[in-house]
Amino acid sequence: MKNVLWAQFSKDKRNPLFVLLLIAGSIVATIVFGGGIQSATTVGIFSEEDNAAAIEKKWGMLLNTDDSFTFEIVDPEEARKDIKKGNIDVAVKVTEDDYRLLVSKKMPTISSIEQHVDKVFKQEAQIRAVEAQVGRDVRDEMENYLADAPLQMESQGVDSEQIPTYNIRTQLLFAFTFLISMFILGFKVNNVTQDKVSGIWDRMIFSPMKKTSMYSGYLLYSFLITMLQIIVVLIVFKYVLHYDVGDNLWLIILIAACFVFGMISIAMLITGFVRTPEQFYAIYPSVIPLIPLISGAYMMPGTITNPVLLFIADLFPLAHAMDAIMSVVFYGAALQDVTMSLLYMLLIGIVAMGVGINLVERRSR
């Protein structure tokens, strides 16, 4: 097994660009798609009503209550032009009592912007309805009343006083890191097929080396190089870019390890269906980007409700890994709280690995 590990490592040592590019890629993707280094996302608002200035000023004040977003008043023509050109992802057109989102492309942040805008407009509609009934301004009254309401809810963490706060950027960090890691591990698992086609595999079979050592060498190398990528990315985000990835880094690494094992097994399963490395290169990159989408890795938890999609997502380790990591990062979950997710990933890994290796062996006969 050590010989195979050494050979695989020596190959990558000669040509490290591929792995380095993918590590850099996962950092850049998180920064680009996650909306920068923990800075607030700027969203343009505009109105085309007769009293546009007053409407824009009113909604600008009401919308700027969340630290995650900054709503800036922009020129309607400029906003439309920027949306058409794709220079900005979203702008909000506001009227006296309604809004419309102008979207250039469906980015992961848009659903959280929409959620915030919708919440503000609904709250405002409720206040107006009350004012219409009582015939006077009740805003200050309501605010004073709510500040000292008779029934008050206090949110608290499971194990701490701290209130857990959800953050889409942290979720995207893990989503993109895992997406890139699936590519790295897949391409490394594909070395089995590559060496089979080149005849190197046959040379090893002919030697006293055991088949378990051969498979272990390839799979362990794939595991180690992928874990390296994940750990490097996590360290960069935690200690350099100061992302909130929770305090329990070891538990996150354990979850990542189970995820990588599960996905290596899925890659092995796909290897069992192909004859050449080229077929793998055609199939694997087509399938992999779908897994985070189905698993809801780019969306806020609870966005996907379709039972069929949820069932499909459960068949892949990513959904379980994201669940477990979100629990650890946002709610301070401990090992016993994420044990089920870890077991699901290990189970998927064992089943897929068993079937995959069986298929690979059948093809060799």
Partner: protein, 310 residues
Amino acid sequence: MLETINLSKSFKGKKVVQDINLYLDNGESVGLLGPNGAGKSTTISMISTLIKPTSGRITMNGVNAIAKPGEIRSVSGVVPQELALYQELSAYENLKFFGSIYKLRGKELDKAIQQALEFVGLENRKKDLVKTYSGGMKRRLNIAAALLHRPKILILDEPTVGIDPQSRNHILEAVRALNQQDGTTILYTSHYMEEVEQLCDRLYIMDHGKIIAAGTKDELLSILSTEDKIKVEVNKLDEAFVEQVKTMEGVRKLEVSELQLKIIAAKGSSLISKLVHLTEQHQIQLLNFHTETPSLEDVFLHLTGRTLRD
């Protein structure tokens, strides 16, 4: 030493190798000759226990090698037709890897690598990456990788495909030295007649998955002992002349290419005097003619009706 009995292999119901019976004695050099697609590589893969035969037996010193593949694997080295090398690594690194899978370590491994590199003449390029090698150098390294554990039997599957004559000669010399100096038993497959003629004590000729002839070179040539091969060059050719040559008494096979006739005729059929007479009749000038001893290529042509490279 090594024997196959009625060895057959089918893929998806189609028989690609049928009833192969061959044997290798200690220290022999045996050739397996046949055109592309004859079933040589499948036979080699079965003998080297890499694929299981559909039926038949392989024995190594009397032990069933299908049930105990270690019997063959422990004493053999296989040079595959593909370049089974890591292109991104140097020759030394490749040999270090292939040596280590045979459990060679430390000084023993270094010595084996050095000897193998010297044997194939690559010791000066050992630090260069394989991807920078010429085709011939890669083929030589492909052989070196099979020699590290000093096998008693070396199985080579078309080791000279697609290389320059200089590298081919180097490989043939190296294989001959292994056989004659080290006493390594050789099983050599090729579709190049001259290589097998040059290297091997005995030959098996395969076509369409079957062995169609076997024996020493002389034994195989004796198949054509009742025939003469005559080459005739003329200044012009016409159809009537060719037709008349074809129907001449004793002519068994006629090949015409440009202004040359290749005739295989029954021995003692006095064809030359008849040919001279016929050229005079057709006012054709006879430029050159000579009688050749039949080669193995002619034996193959005789047995299959086509040449090895068809």
